[in-house]
């Protein structure tokens, strides 16, 4: 099982985590666009191969955070708390 480094709890087996999907823009910033843009926001995903920013949740402690992961090699590159991208590697 993979290890994921929770920014709060440290390295833990992946079984302790829930995958929360790709990090997407705040809907508050998108709600005023055209219907088509909103549909694109709601349904479409960036499912292509590459490094993705994703939500992950450490279940026992209830911690949401962001992980950057290559969805082909399955390597986690960094993890940080939401909004802490600039300050924490």
């Amino acid at each position: 099982m993979k290890i994921l480094n929770c920014p709060i709890n440290g390295p833990r087996p992946l079984q302790e985590f829930h995958f929360g999907g790709e990090l997407r823009p705040n809907p508050l910033d998108r709600k005023d666009g055209a219907d088509a843009d909103w549909a694109d926001y709601v349904f479409n995903r960036d499912g292509e191969p590459g490094v993705k920013r994703e939500w992950w949740y450490h279940i026992p402690s209830g911690t949401w955070f962001i992980a950057e992961r290559d969805n082909v090699t399955d390597q986690f590159q960094r993890t940080y708390l939401y909004g802490a991208e600039q300050t924490d590697g």
Binding site: A39, G47, E54, D74
Partner: protein, 414 residues
């Protein structure tokens, strides 16, 4: 012993030709190019030639034919879907499957075993009833059955799941549920397409799709450029790489789906058994192996690695239902890729790019749709508009907020 096997005994040499040609090089231009040499792509090539007379077709496969989802699934065929759109579509597939061995003169081992979807709660039983009622309305053989029926048909099952899980309340029973030799489906379509003129190019990777003024103009490959006005993407787990080439956004996300087989056993399990609660589906192959799979892996990944969690979880579920299997051994595990949509229904048909057709979003149901998707995509390509059976599955449904309600059918849809 069938007389057909006599010829082998009577010939000194093996009296079988190549199943399909291996063309030396790509032509400059084809009427249609199909990306992906799996069952769907080969099926589309086959029906393009057979039913629409379009024979200048190249199937481009970056590996070997049937090496993706076609060769990695657990080979279950059924049509007991929840929505009329889904059920009609898959019923057509079942009808085609039944006759495919004869049509190909190639035994696909299409074996109707009967398919149980177990309900471990009254709510789940309600969903199964919903499916059964929709199925019956459409003339599909489906019925909700009680514990006694399950026990009579699968006497080895522990209906109380050993107390480890919620007991089984009943099941959706679908007598036509079948298994088949999945590789052979790809081979049969390949041979049939080849005999009718289509070219199959293995070890040929697509590197780009040329779009000019919103229309397809050709395909770039690692073996050169091909001019064409029609391109079908039938690459399942690699769809997002192809849609990126044409700048098409879709809801697709790719998840691995794992499976395993046990060592061969003498036949004892004649039915296909599915439990959504236990994340388990299981059948016994004609070789005697128990073939089992789970739901999708819980996170996106475009890689076919195996996990121990899967083997552990699957084993636990198998023992919950069949406690005597403890000493049976698991031989091998593997994974395939699934391209998932938000409504658990495929994305098929025309796209905003003229001449670019998509056959994707197969999630965990791609194998059972092989014949019908080949047939309907061929029709769609030949006529440049969506076949009646797949209208509901067009990519545009998301923009229109007109999703297909298949998701209600449960998390494991085998």
């Amino acid at each position: 012993m069938p007389y057909r096997l006599l010829k082998y005994a009577l010939h000194k040499d093996h009296p079988e030709p190549r199943m399909f040609r291996a063309p030396e090089r790509l032509k400059e231009e084809y009427d249609a190019v199909i990306i992906g040499g799996g069952g769907h792509g080969l099926g589309a090539a086959y029906y393009l030639a057979k039913e629409h007379g379009i024979t200048s077709v190249a199937v481009l496969e970056k590996g070997y034919i049937g090496g993706g989802g076609t060769g990695r699934n657990t080979a279950i065929v059924r049509s007991n879907y929840l929505t009329p759109e889904g059920a009609r579509f898959y019923q057509e597939s079942v009808d085609l499957f039944r006759d495919l061995s004869r049509e190909f003169n190639f035994n696909l081992f299409y074996s109707e075993r009967g398919h149980f979807t177990l309900a471990h709660s009254p709510a789940s039983l309600n969903t199964q009833r919903w499916r059964a009622e929709v199925n019956k309305h459409l003339g599909i053989d489906s019925e909700v059955v009680d514990r006694a029926f399950i026990k009579k048909t699968v006497p080895e099952i522990d209906l109380d799941a050993g107390g480890h899980q919620a007991p089984i309340y009943g099941a959706l029973y679908h007598p036509p549920g079948a298994i088949a030799r999945h590789d052979a489906v790809a081979w049969g379509y390949a041979r049939g397409a080849d005999q009718r003129g289509a070219e199959i190019h293995q070890q040929t990777a697509v590197t780009g799709v040329e779009v000019r003024d919103g229309e397809v103009a050709g395909v770039h490959t690692d073996k050169g450029f091909i001019k064409t006005r029609k391109v079908l993407s039938a690459v399942a787990g690699w769809t997002t790489s192809i849609t990126r080439m044409v700048g098409l956004r879709t809801p697709l996300v790719i998840h691995p789906l794992q499976a395993l087989v046990t060592e061969p056993l003498k036949p004892w399990l004649n039915s296909i058994v599915v439990s959504a609660s236990l994340h388990l589906y299981m059948s016994q192959s004609s070789r005697g192996e128990l073939v089992a799979g789970a739901s999708l892996d819980p996170y996106e990944l475009i890689s076919m690695r195996s996990t121990l969690d899967f083997a552990e979880g699957m084993s636990a579920g198998m023992l919950d239902l069949f406690p005597f299997l403890g000493d049976v051994k698991i031989l091998r595990q593997w994974a395939g890729l699934c391209d998932m949509t938000p409504d658990f229904s495929p994305i098929m048909g025309t796209t905003p790019i003229k001449g670019f057709y998509i056959d994707a979003g197969w999630g965990t149901w791609g194998f059972k749709a092989t014949p019908v998707s080949g047939k309907t995509m061929a029709w769609t390509m030949a006529n440049d508009h969506d076949h009646e059976l797949i209208k509901a599955f067009n990519l545009s449904r998301f923009g229109r907020f007109q999703l297909v309600g298949e998701k209600g059918a449960a998390s494991v849809g085998h």
